[in-house]
Amino acid sequence: MSGEAGEALLSVRNLRVAFGSPQHPLLAVDGVDFDVGPGEVLGIAGESGSGKSVTLRSILRLIHAPGRVSGQVLWRGRDLLALPEEELRRVRGGEIGVIFQEPMTALNPVLSVGLQIRENLKEHTRLDAAGRRKRAIELMDHVGIPAAQSRLEDYPHQFSGGMRQRAMIAIALASNPQLLLADEPTTALDVTIQDQILKLILRLRSEMNMSVILVTHDLGVIAQTCDRLAVMYAGRLAETGPVAALFRQPRHAYTLGLLNSVPRAGQLRQPLASIPGQPPLLSRLPRGCAFAPRCGFVLSACREAPPPLVEVAPDHRSACLAHQAVAKA
């Protein structure tokens, strides 16, 4: 996706995640491929049920039974999906950090924030107890928690929503990760706090030369933070490419519909170009393109088989048979 195969830090190939019984599998993720380069921020966008969070979680094998994951997640030459549990533990929370939407449920409520940071330092660094304490204060300071030293022994419930998210980022950063997975990290936050957290993530990305995968449903967040974007619909990739190109000229009817659904300035009280209907149920996916029943550009071939993801412009791929018509719209 980002040019030569050798540059990618993480390569996901033919990722499939199935839930339900083996006789009637529900494919939450169906044949997803993408790469993340060093220092790159990749956004994964889509509506509820599109498979974006499941994709993110399956990278670190955080999908539990009855979910079944197949395909390849190549991390610096090793397939994380085939790695023994022991070795995976060094990657998970170590080389790859994770932050979630709800810090209150992701943090341990009965351990102080300082202890939770030190726990990760103990697991993934060689620092001694004094060194870990010092580093924990540094990390809290670094993510913008005021008076870090005095808040070390505070518990998650003593922090505000924004500060909890900062604490979770501090825990993830303790191991000096090369990749940060962020699952809707700002969705539960107010807009002024969201703005601070996104800018913090971007600052840390450049300071630590870390890559980021950011899952969100908010296209504004994508526009402001990501280098590249992957749009998912009903478990499949609809379109991938550089954010600027994708926003300027979307090449998938669904991406175009999403962008047009967002109100723009200067169209006061005009009807919005909404997408008719609603996303399909995984148990009742159409035979062809999953978006075909809602699509204004639909061709008869769209209803036959799911369109493949093909390159439509340099570094820009779309799974839309009508991508040329969409580009002109």
Partner: protein
């Protein structure tokens, strides 16, 4: 009623919630803590208008909505609806007010009775207010479903059988069943996916045009509020800090908090990115509202006066008021 007179006039509305005293509070003799949800809110809404209300969590916007439909009883202040004192209504007059002013909630799944079919829910509202004779109720239910574009076979189904967007349509149909004049929409589309949000916004705009509804649209999404409101009020810690016609507010904000909100809202253009935080600091708790201007601890333009003296809402230009000590006309 005179057309120019406001339909809703809210004056100096105040509402506090008393937190129960903890054991430690009792032992140490500390008084119970008080959440100052609304601290003197005044505004008017004219007939047929959409007033948007924006603000972050804890700013009091939902408390305001609940006071308007009398789910909370405010401690002080007045609410007049078409000249009638709403807070003194009782009996049949109160019932008539509830028919004229309806609320639509954010989560239709928790506000619809899961054991009632759509038909039962709608018919109950119609029958309660004696709006149709028994035999005509069925026909009215069909009309309502058509109005919010739900298939007619929806009537026999239960709320859990619908998607989020469809459930929100049921919530709107339920509110419209009693033929209200005014809708209070509290985070009407926040729980919905973007593509479905747009459908519900279009429906609301269309219904407003057809039925001449007055709408109070409460939301945290600035893009959405800008799109559908005639005027917008910005709330911060229980008070209105700025109120103006929509385009004035979005192009010439007069309060630093409004300016910060606008800057913080992620823009849809990847070519225009900022690297500095739109506003520093955390939202203060409504348990301990800062003295003076409540925004002063986060304000980049703070002056000595702001820390002690609370600025009143003053005129900035016709149709534009703001509560800030900065000289009017300053570009933020």
């Amino acid at each position: 009623m005179d057309d120019a007179a406001p339909l809703i006039a809210v004056t100096d509305l105040a509402m506090r919630f008393y937190r129960p005293r903890s054991v430690v509070d009792r032992l140490t003799g500390r008084p119970g803590r008080i959440v100052h949800a609304l601290n003197g809110v005044s505004f008017t809404v004219t007939r047929g208008e959409t007033l948007g209300v924006v603000g972050e969590s804890g700013c009091g916007k939902s408390t305001l909505a609940r006071c308007l439909v009398r789910l909370h009883r405010p401690e002080a202040g007045h609410i007049a609806y078409g000249g009638i004192d709403v807070l003194r209504l009782a009996g049949t007059e109160r019932r008539a007010y509830h028919r004229r002013v309806q609320m639509v909630f954010q989560d239709p799944y928790s506000s619809l009775n899961p054991r009632m079919t759509v038909r039962q829910t709608l018919a109950e509202a119609i029958a309660f207010h004696d709006l149709r004779a028994g035999a005509e109720i069925g026909k009215r239910v069909e009309e309502l479903l058509e109005l919010v574009r739900l298939p007619s076979d929806a009537a026999g189904r239960y709320p859990h059988e619908f998607s989020g967007g469809q459930r929100q349509r049921i919530g709107i149909a339920r509110a419209l069943a009693v033929e209200p004049e005014c809708l209070i929409a509290d985070e009407l589309v926040s729980a919905l996916d973007v593509s479905v949000q747009a459908q519900i916004v279009n429906l609301l705009l269309e219904l407003q045009g057809r039925l001449g509804l007055t709408v109070l649209f409460i939301a945290h999404d600035l893009r959405l509020v800008r799109h559908i409101s005639h005027r917008v009020a910005v709330m911060y810690l229980g008070a209105i800090v700025e109120l103006a016609e929509t385009e004035m507010l979005f192009t010439r904000p007069a309060h630093p908090y409004t300016a910060a909100l606008l800057k913080a809202a992620p823009e849809m253009d990847p070519g225009r990115r900022s690297v500095i935080d739109a506003v520093r600091g955390e939202l203060p708790s409504p348990l301990a509202i800062p003295a003076g201007c409540p925004f002063h601890p986060r304000c980049p333009y703070v002056m000595a006066r702001c820390r002690v003296e609370r600025p009143p809402l003053t005129d900035r230009e016709p149709g534009h008021i703001a509560a800030c000590h900065l000289e009017p006309g300053r570009k933020l």
